[in-house]
C-alpha cells in the first residue's frame, strides 16, 4: 500500500513520465545513429548499447528515491507516517519497492525496445546470437542490483541532507560515475580478465549490502524523527 501510493505520487508528475520515456528512447536513438559503427563487426557496439539500455532507466530511480525520502522529509509528511502503527522496516521496504518496481519495469521495457530496434538495424539473426536469453537476464539482474544500489544510497544521502534537490544532485553524480565506469568496462569487456568482471559484480553487491544496512540504520523511526 505504501509502495502503491509512492508510485502513483511519483508518476502523476509529467516530468517523471517524460524522463522515463527519454531514458527508454536514448539507447534506441543511439542504435539508429550508430548503424555504421563497428564496420563488419558491430557486436561490441551492440553489447555496449544493450548495457546502456538496461542501466539508463535506473536513473529514474534517483528521482524516485530522492522524492520518496528527502522530499517527504522536506515537506514534513514523514511525521504522520511515523506516527502510524507500522513497523520501521515496513516503511523502508515500502519505499524501496516504490523505487525498485517502476525502475525495474522500465528496464524491461527498455531492453525489449532496444532488442526490437537492434534487430531492425543489425538483423535479427545477429541480435539473437548476441543477446541470448541468458545475456538479457544477466543485464536485467544487473539493472535490478543497480537500482537497489541507487535507491539505498539515495536513502542514505537523503537522511543527511536538507532538500530533495541536494539528494538528487549528489546521487546523480554518484550514478553518473557508475554508469560511465560500467560502460567503459562494457566496451573493454572482451579484453578484460574474468576475475576483474567478477570483482566489479562483487563490488556492486557489497555496495548494495553496505548501503541497505546504512539506510536501515538511518531510517529507523528514532533517527528519522531526530533529524526532522
Amino acid at each position: 500500500m505504501l509502495a502503491r501510493r509512492e508510485i502513483v505520487e511519483q508518476y502523476s508528475d509529467r516530468g517523471a513520465a517524460f524522463r522515463a520515456l527519454f531514458f527508454v528512447a536514448l539507447p534506441i536513438a543511439l542504435i539508429f545513429l550508430n548503424r555504421g559503427t563497428g564496420g563488419r563487426n558491430p557486436d561490441p557496439v551492440l553489447l555496449i548499447f544493450a548495457l546502456q539500455a538496461a542501466l539508463l532507466p535506473t536513473a529514474t530511480a534517483i528521482n524516485a528515491a530522492a522524492g520518496s525520502f528527502a522530499a517527504e522529509k522536506e515537506a514534513q509528511t514523514l511525521v504522520p507516517l511515523l506516527a502510524a502503527p507500522i513497523r520501521d522496516i515496513d516503511i523502508v521496504a515500502g519505499k524501496l519497492m516504490a523505487v525498485l518496481l517502476p525502475a525495474a519495469g522500465l528496464a524491461i521495457v527498455s531492453l525489449a525496445a532496444y532488442y526490437t530496434a537492434a534487430s531492425i538495424v543489425f538483423g535479427q539473426e545477429r541480435v539473437e546470437r548476441l543477446l541470448t536469453p541468458t545475456t538479457l537476464y544477466g543485464l536485467f539482474a544487473l539493472a535490478v542490483f543497480f537500482i537497489m544500489t541507487v535507491g539505498a544510497w539515495v536513502m542514505v544521502v537523503s537522511a543527511r541532507v536538507g532538500s530533495q534537490r541536494t539528494a538528487q544532485q549528489i546521487a546523480g553524480f554518484v550514478l553518473g560515475g557508475l554508469i560511465v565506469a560500467l560502460s567503459a568496462i562494457g566496451s573493454l569487456i572482451q579484453n578484460l580478465p574474468a576475475e576483474l568482471v567478477i570483482g566489479v559484480v562483487v563490488a556492486v553487491l557489497v555496495s548494495d549490502l553496505v548501503a541497505l544496512e546504512l539506510a536501515r540504520r538511518f531510517w529507523n523511526r528514532e533517527e528519522a524523527v531526530a533529524r526532522l
Binding site: Q76, V79, L81, L82, A83, A84, P85
Partner: protein, 307 residues
Amino acid sequence: MIEVRDVTRRFGAFTALSHASFVVRSGEIVALLGPNGAGKTTASRIIAGILAPTEGDAIVDGISVREDPDRVRARIGLVTDSPSLYERMTLRAYLTYFARLYDLPAPGPRIAELADLMGLAPNIDQRLASFSRGMKQKAAIARALVHEPPVLLLDEPATALDPEMTQTLRGLIVSLRAQHRAILLCTHDLDEAQRISDRVVIVDRGRIVREGATEELRSAGRPSFRAEIVADETAARAALASADIAVDGVTRSNGNLELRWTAADPAETNTRALRALLDAGAKVITVSSETRSLEDAYLEIIKESRQ
C-alpha cells in the same frame, strides 16, 4: 489517559527533557506550554511513540510506549503545526490511505462522517493542493481522528490560521473533549490555552516548572486591584504612598485615573487605600479585583524558574 512518568530524553550531550511527569485524564484538555526548545515537541513525540524515552516511561491508554510503541501509536491522533499532507491526493484518497495504515477494514462511512464534521464534505474529491491553509489543517485533524483515537496530541494546531478558523478549531477541540478524549495541546498561544485548557503544564529548558489548573495558576500570587478615580495623579500617588501602598501602574481612561496595586491582605490594604484617596480629595468611581491573564502568570513563572 496519558501518564508521563519521570521521562528524560537526551540527544547526545543535550537533554531535551528531564524527569518530566504529568497526567492528562480522559475528557480533559491539558496545555503544555513553554518557550521554543523547551521540550514540548520532544514530550509529544515520546507520548506518540515515535521517540523512545532515554529514562522513564509514558503510559497511553494503559500501554507503555517502551514496551509496545506500535499499540500506543494505534491509540493516538497526532496533529502538528504543519498539516503535512500528500497534496497530490484527494481528501478521500488521503483519509482512506491513513485509515488502512491504521487497519480500518471499511473506512468509507468514517471518512464521510469526518469530512462532514470538518465541513469538507463538498471538497472530499478535490486534491489537497487546492485547499486553503485552514482547510488543510482541518484535513490533518480528520487524518488524526480517522481511527477514533482516545488520545489526541495537538502540537501548535492553530499556527497560521485566521481568527475565524482558529475559533472553529477551538470549538472542534472542545467538542472532542466532550467525547471523553484525553487531549494534550502543545502551544505558544497562551490566549488559546487560557480559553480551552482545564490544566496547564509549563516546561522550560526541559524541566517542568509548574503544573496546575488553569484558573489556579491565574489566581496564584498576590491578588491585584484596580481603582478608577477622579483626582490629580501626583496627589493620588502621594496619598497611596503615605498609606504605605506601592502603586504598580497608572493609566488614564476617559479622563479618569486608573491605579493598580497588589495586596496580600485585601480587606486591610484596600480600606487603607480608599481612606487615603478620599482624604486626598479623590472621587472614587470603581474599585475591582484583577485576575492575571495566563500570559502574565506564565511569564512570571518562567522568570522565577530562571532565577
